[in-house]
């Protein structure tokens, strides 16, 4: 009897996915520096030859894993932001941030890789990290219209807001408090809204989020 063969493309994709997942897990557990290609292939149960066929090296594999992880994060946040479409902009931001901390708290490996290890993985990774953060900019920039201030707000307002929030998340994840990330949701809401709306409106939304959580 003939054994049914899976299409070759399927096998290739799944080996690649296993390697990427193994990279996420290993880099999150051991740190990027200490992770070796051998760790990754062993974890994935894939041969070293296959790894070498697919990736030029550890860094290339890491960057691809990082892109995949960040795509998941952005999709999750976007979905939450858009689902709150008939709410006000501050509520949409709170919904997006809520989805972000929820995912990061559940997926400790993703949080570690996306927020912390990426900064240890060399210039390309850091460049990629900065580019990724700008994917959140469109959600934020709606705040210019909502606040009625438009171009009167400083040019770097989105960068300031994202910088404040990511630094708070970075500190929590690095200190091993990733699983309790939801605790800082009110602070994150304040940090992101404050530069657009000023302290009072930002604090109102912060209080609303605190009440609901």
């Amino acid at each position: 009897m003939e054994t049914p063969q899976l299409p070759r493309a399927y096998a290739v994709r799944s080996e690649r996915e296993r390697l990427l997942e193994a990279m996420v897990k290993t880099a999150a557990a051991k740190g990027y520096e200490a992770t070796t290609v051998d760790d990754v292939v062993e974890f994935a149960g894939v041969s070293r030859e296959t790894f070498d066929e697919m990736f030029a090296g550890k860094e290339e594999c890491f960057l691809e894993a990082y892109d995949a992880v960040f795509d998941v994060l952005v999709a999750h946040v976007t979905a939450a932001f858009e689902a709150a479409d008939d709410e006000s902009w501050p509520e949409q931001i709170a919904a997006g941030l809520g989805a972000l901390v929820e995912l990061l708290a559940m997926e400790a490996d993703i949080a570690r890789l996306a927020m912390v290890e990426v900064t240890a993985a060399g210039d390309d990774a850091r460049e990629r990290y900065r580019a990724m953060l700008t994917r959140f900019t469109p959600f934020l920039e709606k705040g210019r219209t909502y606040s009625g201030q438009g171009e009167a707000l400083p040019a770097d307002t989105a960068r300031f807001a994202v910088g404040g929030a990511t630094s708070m998340i970075f500190d929590e994840v690095r200190a091993g408090r990733g699983p309790e990330l939801k605790r800082i949701l009110p602070d994150l809401v304040f940090a992101v809204l404050m530069p657009y709306l000023g302290p009072e409106a930002a604090e109102d939304e912060m209080r609303r989020v605190t009440r609901e959580s």
Partner: protein, 232 residues
């Protein structure tokens, strides 16, 4: 043996003995060397090398090439590149703190102090962008100890900013997280500009930084007025 080493180092410090030889002795007291000009030169070279070449690419060799010193001078003072960078980072942070404090000293109000202190820091980044990159950007590549040192410096900056609470009116005080967010947000903008390899344009950021810092304590109108004033 130990006593002899001490004598020699002191003689070297006075310029009458052979300092090179004394520094190489295993029992030579390190404290004597902390503020030596050679050590400081290496630390400066380290920050510039790391800032210009990136942490991974910078090496003891490239640091020495910048300073014109010999290998021995490096290894008399530091075990390796990592140890040297940590010391250099501390020196860099202390220098930035001193620059900000000196500029702020002649001002009376919180706002005046912040404007002068931040302005002096941004001037320094315009003058020495590689030094800025060495302190602000490459710290990420240098591991947990370097990050802890940075966190300490950012906490200090946040504590200074939060002095605004004393001048803000009753009921206007923002949540406790406000100063941390201000420092992190300003840091992110400077970091981003340094990362792109920019060699100027830092001073021009002062008006918006003043806006972001004044806003949570004094509200939108005060922040806008401050931004306009800083632009003038």
């Amino acid at each position: 043996m130990g006593k002899q080493a001490v004598t020699k180092v002191q003689a070297g410090a006075e310029g009458t003995g052979n300092a090179e030889e004394a520094e190489a002795l295993p029992n030579a007291p390190r404290l004597e060397l902390v503020n030596s000009p050679k050590r400081e030169k290496i630390l400066e070279g380290m920050l510039e090398a790391v800032g210009a070449e990136g942490y991974e690419a910078a090496s003891v060799r490239t640091v020495l090439a910048r300073t014109g010193l010999y290998r021995q001078a490096f290894y008399d003072n530091f075990a390796d590149k990592d140890a040297c960078y940590l010391a250099a980072l501390s020196m860099g942070i202390e220098r930035l703190e001193a620059i900000a404090l000196r500029a702020a000293a002649s001002e009376e109000s919180w706002r005046g102090k912040l404007r002068a202190g931040l302005g002096a820091l941004l001037d320094r980044f315009d003058e020495e962008p590689d030094f800025g990159r060495g302190v602000v950007v490459e710290v990420h590549a240098a591991g947990p100890e370097a990050l802890a040192r940075r966190a300490e410096a950012m906490k200090k900056a946040a504590d200074f900013i939060d002095l605004a609470r004393l001048e803000a009116g009753e009921g206007e005080a923002p949540p406790q997280i406000a100063p941390e967010g201000i420092v992190a947000g300003i840091h992110a903008i400077v970091h981003s500009r340094l990362s792109t390899g920019a060699t100027d344009g830092f001073r021009e950021l002062l008006p918006e930084f003043m806006y972001f810092a004044v806003l949570p304590y004094f509200g939108t109108e005060a922040a806008s007025a401050e931004m306009q004033a800083a632009r003038a």
